[in-house]
């Protein structure tokens, strides 16, 4: 670019290629680009790249995995925000509807107890979706290494979590460590199996006042805060079972 005019005209190359210039500018640009080697080359290069990318757009995007497609199907999405709508559509074919509903009640109970204020219902619904999704997605997984999973969490999210390992008493098997949907992912979700039942441990990166136990409609939840973290254990287990699980987890998380 050798003079002021050329520099000005060069700025028109990109909008020219994208077809966003007005007729007067197009006319000016046409005249200049035909005469100027530099601008002509820029025009040719940008136009060629644009054409190539548009041609290849379908391949470049990568198709979304089937698992993701299922996760965002309308039924799955609607239940997250409008639990009353579950009767309208089939949701989560693999999850019994009654289980989903009663778990939701349990989670709402936690919300009412103050742990998950202020947007209790919404969050409870999100946790439900996350709990169902994760327990379904991780079914049959060999499960991560707890130390590696905690390390990876620290790397990706910038704050520490403890990941209690699997145990034989109580019979807990770690099957997954995930980011929970709530609050832009600022919540960890550990998924365990307890004799075929799913146990969810939600970890918030802040300490919140929480009632120690909540029991609603057969679902039990244990919550506590320690060292700037708040923990919520949710499972469809008997009272003494979840008490044992809670005690084990509290023992492990220090």
């Amino acid at each position: 670019m050798t003079n002021h005019t050329c520099r000005e005209m060069a700025a028109l190359v990109t909008p020219y290629v994208d077809g966003t210039l007005g007729p007067t500018e197009v006319e000016l640009a046409d005249r200049h680009f035909a005469a100027c080697t530099t601008c002509g080359a820029l025009l040719g290069a940008e136009r060629a790249v644009r054409a190539l990318l548009r041609d290849e757009a379908g391949v470049l995007r990568e198709p979304a995995p089937t698992s993701l497609r299922e996760r965002v199907q309308p039924g799955a999405t609607v239940v997250a925000f409008a639990p009353r709508a579950v009767t309208r559509r089939p949701l989560w074919r693999r999850v019994p509807l009654a289980a989903a509903a009663s778990l939701l009640v349990a989670l709402t109970g936690i919300a009412a107890a103050g742990l998950l204020a202020p947007s209790g219902t919404l969050l409870a619904a999100q946790l439900t979706l996350d709990h169902l999704k994760c327990t379904w997605l991780t079914r049959g997984d060999p499960g991560p290494d707890p130390v590696a999973a905690a390390h990876e969490w620290r790397e990706h999210h910038g704050w520490d979590i403890s990941v209690p390992p699997s145990s034989t008493a109580p019979p807990l098997r770690l099957v997954g460590v995930r980011r929970c949907l709530f609050s832009d992912g600022a919540m960890a979700h550990l998924v365990y199996e307890h004799d075929g039942q799913s146990v969810s441990v939600f970890i918030l990166p802040t300490a919140r006042p929480a009632s120690p136990e909540t029991a609603i409609m057969g679902h039990e939840a244990v919550t506590w805060s320690r060292n700037g973290r708040t923990y919520a254990v949710v499972a469809s287990l008997a009272h003494d079972e979840i008490a044992r699980v809670g005690a084990y987890l509290q023992e492990q998380i220090r």
């Binding site: 080359a41 040719g44 993701l68 925000f81 998950l116």
Partner: protein, 202 residues
């Protein structure tokens, strides 16, 4: 005790909203992959995007571009989830690199013809991935997703002029790489941070 345990009115999702949004799933996943470079993180990001979109569907203005709106939510979600969101690679915009001389030299023949031999598919994606983040994001939203400058400006939260200059530089740099001039010709820009999470001292 929770100050508010139930939302007063659950706003209804407009009819057909889900299906329309689902049509952009591949596009959203493609961008999420570029942003996170990790399949499961990309899936989470897209799912979060859908949840938020449905939650605020009643606020979507009919007649505006649903696709641009979804990408805006996706980028916002990505930015919010990142702790160092404020450290976007602004510095790439202040680089006085217009690549004009390099491109003039490289595009001496017929540029379209030169790109006929260029990489396609996964290799082309790889070449895009090697561009500085700021350039790739702008070029991708323009040329792969066919969004307008103003929409891209809103999504990326940068001025319109910056969008245009990033698209310009991104395309030129990509042209140089694809025609095999990238290493020597683009050396100045190639040193721009590949990833915003690893900014380089300047």
């Amino acid at each position: 005790m929770a100050s508010r345990v139930s939302r007063p009115e659950e706003a209804p999702v407009p009819p057909g909203f889900d299906a329309q949004a689902l049509a952009y799933l591949d596009g959203l996943f493609g961008v999420a992959m570029r942003l996170t470079r990790d399949r499961s993180a990309a899936e989470d990001l897209v799912q979060d995007t859908f949840l938020k979109a449905v939650r605020s569907a009643h606020r979507f203005e009919a007649g505006t571009n649903l696709k641009a709106w979804l990408f805006t939510i996706l980028y916002n979600t990505f930015r919010n989830a990142r702790r160092d969101a404020s450290r976007d690679p602004i510095d790439v915009d202040s680089e006085a690199v217009d690549l004009a001389a390099d491109v003039t030299a490289a595009a001496a023949g017929d540029p379209e013809r030169q790109l006929l031999r260029a990489a396609r598919g996964a290799e082309l994606r790889q070449a895009l991935d090697e561009l500085p983040d700021a350039y790739r994001r702008a070029v991708w939203l323009r040329d792969v997703e066919d969004l307008a400058y103003a929409e891209i400006a809103r999504i990326l939260e940068v001025p319109l002029g910056t969008v245009m200059s990033r698209i310009a530089r991104g395309r030129r740099l990509l042209f140089l790489r694809l025609t095999g001039q990238g290493e020597e010709g683009g050396s100045r820009s190639a040193s721009a941070p590949r990833d915003a999470r690893r900014p380089q001292p300047r």
